[in-house]
Subunit: 227 residues, 6 copies
């Protein structure tokens, strides 16, 4: 038996939109260096950037049936997150599904598998992060869960978690932590403005971050010539 | 002993050009989900789209000699298909060979290995799908077959088969099936116009494809809250 | 104990700039088909092209501390070359480090690991060749050598060697050989002008390179029809 | 800040030992085809088979410090489960740590990274499933969590979950489901005794599982000769 | 529509058994260095060696239904060859199917995907060459062709071709060429007896194969000291 | 032009034999965690252990000609180290070459490519560490250097360096450092005897290595229950 959960909690839209404004790298650092999906998750076009509420969808290898089920559970501002029960690069998703998601106000797709019709998706401006681009078709035979927690590209994602994605990849933020992470990201970014200005002016990170003493303690030696 | 076959059958140009107008995903579906080359075959620039008659060329690892032989067998409208006898990512092909192919009216290259000079190839508008981009040079010592059937990126290709390629990858269509596949692709695309319109209007795939009953039979349950 | 070497020899700027004008494929051929880094080293944006003097930096997996040390050793015209002591795809490098390198006149980065903030790096026009794009943060705990020889993406690189990089990948030229390689590349390119013109005019490589006799000696047969 | 949780619930020893008697394939099927770790997790010697309670340990790339912390939390019958915060194949674990775990009655190690001293581990009969065998040493600089849930080789593991491993790989069973899964596995195995006997006697699966009618409905045709 | 072909030609049993006695390397050389499956096809235990007539079976990703269909087409002396329509590492095959194949006199399995129950298969002495070992279960929903030609691990295999496999991997020999290849392999092996004796006696390959002159012509220089 | 260097320095046999007695992990640690070849270099059978003087051999992809040249440069106690100029998994080496090397007293082979005849090599007891096992044959057309430094599986190796290999992989020790590394390895091993005894007796590494205070300083907290 598989389940489709209709009601999921979502984070505050203002918080989600704030997170969308920060890069994945910043959000990932702001929440203590956690939540990244595997580095093989790449955008099908660049630049691309979004944040949204995760609707999670489990699929069988070579079978995209449950994506059709998941579409109905998506609301404006959501991001659809799809993971296969075993590794697969088939083309689970194309322009018709994207049309349907776009009609529902969905912001993008995170697919731990393959997608196709990428030229059309690019023209549509529908952002997708995927493991592969592959035209291989799929069947509609096996059911799975929608809106239960799943592991996608190595990261645990609960329905309603916030997905942040850009050219660097994809990060998940726990719903309950989203507001705090957005605030921490804001502070981190503010903090970087001054740093960037100093680095642009030629100040060295060694001095800006006061690293010289600790490096010496660790045993680093500067010599004029190679031994 | 290796052979170069001079006369190969080719599909009707009108059929080839019709196939060029459909995407790889559509053609692949239209012929019963077969014929795709491996997902690692990627275009060196995007967007790119073509169809043409396959001229097949077998090469030794690290040896591009036979490509020079194959060039002579190419005619306007052809696509050169090259596969090594064991996996290799060397840069078998660069701008001089592209110049030669272009002069003969060849539409593009399918290379189950590496290519180089991709900045120039991009400027020239000569489309290539390859396994790798790698500047590694090759030698000219070992002969192989031209215009015999070969396996390229996991797909069997006969000389004269139709190659269809776009941003989603590469597909081969048997010459004898090309006309029927083009017709099936046309029907499939026509059929999608109405579907796309309905999906844009917010109709769900669940309803459009009448999936609800069969999902329930398989045991799918909708619940309001996660258990 | 780890060492930072302050004074390294560098090739003549005129020679470096000459090498920058040739593609990686040409330079690689001109020096006898050696010096290429692995094909997984890809530019974060295209087109990109540079040449510069290598400043080498060894880092621990998941630890970018030594990059901060290496920045101080960089001079205008240099290229920073970073290799981890064991394979790692973490995001060692982002926009703040790029700001710092740019302020010092560094021409680009060769990173046998991951980088992040690639959207900003692209806007900045700071070219990077890397193994991965990954937002994963790093620590600052372990020291390593700066400006000692290291193996980066399969190639041995000495500080002061010339790095040449473009859309085809990355090549290293020994400092002592740089002038001769630049001259050989110039000759090679000059030699290709005439060849390109002939190929454009439809002359076959088989004839231009006088290959037919040797192919026949090897046993190649041309037949009209497949057997 | 990182946490070490001292008290974790564990499944009943009788249930764990029952699960140890079934293969991973059987347990995985018995719990509805879920819980497998990635196929790259391989035993360092074969045959090997175990079940035990998971003690979970998060490590930084190239840093095995937290394994020393986790050892103290292990009790007889446990299995240590280690996952890095980003992919790494370094040799986190060798014969000294195995000696320590063995002294505490730990049944084996699940390591989503590399291990070393495998000849000695084999002699000791200490079973390990790992992503790699690699002698690369690690540092002790970065802390992480012990006995919090983590994703290991693509599977979510809670402390106290039951780990089942054999030559086919590794499977996790939720603690609360362990007894039911053991019972289902027992039934499944009992059910297979008769099937195996029939198959040995030459009965076809097509008949044993009554597949012929459904295959025909799907459109399968038997023909005497290839078309 | 998919087809199951009942009658396939098979090579002479004496020829097949003769091929079984040669190693894969010898057979591959004897037929002109062709016919090898990809190097990722590895035996689940070593040593293992066989030859047999191919029964070919196409399966969908994550779906082993057609293997049950193919079993019925197998006769004593056959080898079952299974390839998925897109890459998949799921555990398509385990001890029950092996029991069934063994009951029919099948000599082994070539699986371009995953298998499970490898401890039992090893005990049974049922040899398998596969891409992966993975316990992941499969469904029975999608049909495919049995005994039509397919590409398995990069090699084209017709039903009735001879499969030769050992610790070095897997090779296919065309049925029509099997007798000639067996004879060529016999000659090759006879020829190696004397060579091996000479090499054992300390004769150098350089002299045995008379390589020195040609090496010198190519430009090889022997020097006493490194330059 | 390529060179074969006849005279290379070798380390003291007593030192080499001492290094053979330590594991790769110990030697790697004793020399400051450097010198490991990539983790994909695996022994074709286990257990296997050796040390010897490197004779280095560069080969073209798919071309094993230079191995025949290198054999002549090998003396008793040597280890042949072969690296292709671009990645290749072909079967460069089989039982005839092993026979020849064994006749010359060579201790084993390090091959950053494929080998074949592994069943025979196993029977012969000729140890090989390789990237792949693959029956694919090679040609004899292209020359390369013998006994010049090369990069093999990511590590720089000079002729005459000491190669140490066991079930954990392969490590290179600089000839000039071999004696000191052997001494450091001896001390390291002596030092581990007492540690191992204490760990066997149940002393925790946390106490043996006095880690508790530094862990607390880094911010590690022990709690009784998960938060």
């Amino acid at each position: 038996m598989s389940l489709v959960v209709r009601n999921i909690p979502r984070a505050d839209v203002g918080v989600i939109d704030a997170l969308a404004g920060f890069g994945v790298a910043t959000v990932h650092e702001a929440q203590g260096r956690k939540g990244l999906l595997a580095s093989y998750m790449r955008p099908i076009y660049r630049p691309a950037q979004l944040a949204g509420s995760a609707v999670t969808c489990e699929v069988a290898p070579g079978d995209n049936w449950m994506i059709h089920v998941a579409v109905e559970q998506c609301k404006p501002g959501d991001v659809l997150v799809v993971a296969p029960t075993s590794p697969c690069e088939d083309g689970y998703f194309g322009d018709l599904l994207a049309t349907s998601l776009k009609a529902r106000g969905v912001r993008g797709l995170i697919m731990d598998a393959g997608v196709r019709d990428v030229a059309v998706l690019t023209e549509m401006g529908f952002p997708v992060w995927s493991k592969a681009i592959f035209a291989q078709g799929t069947v509609k035979e096996t059911i799975g869960n929608v809106n239960l927690p799943l592991v996608c590209a190595g990261a645990l994602i609960h329905p309603g978690d916030v997905i942040v994605a850009d050219d660097d990849g994809v990060c998940v933020v726990r719903r309950a932590e989203a507001a705090a992470v957005a605030e921490a990201a804001r502070e981190r970014e503010a903090n970087e403005i001054d740093k960037r200005a100093q680095l642009e002016a030629g100040v060295l990170g060694l001095d800006l971050y006061k690293m010289r003493e600790r490096l010496a303690e660790k045993g680093l030696k500067w010599v004029d010539e190679a031994p």
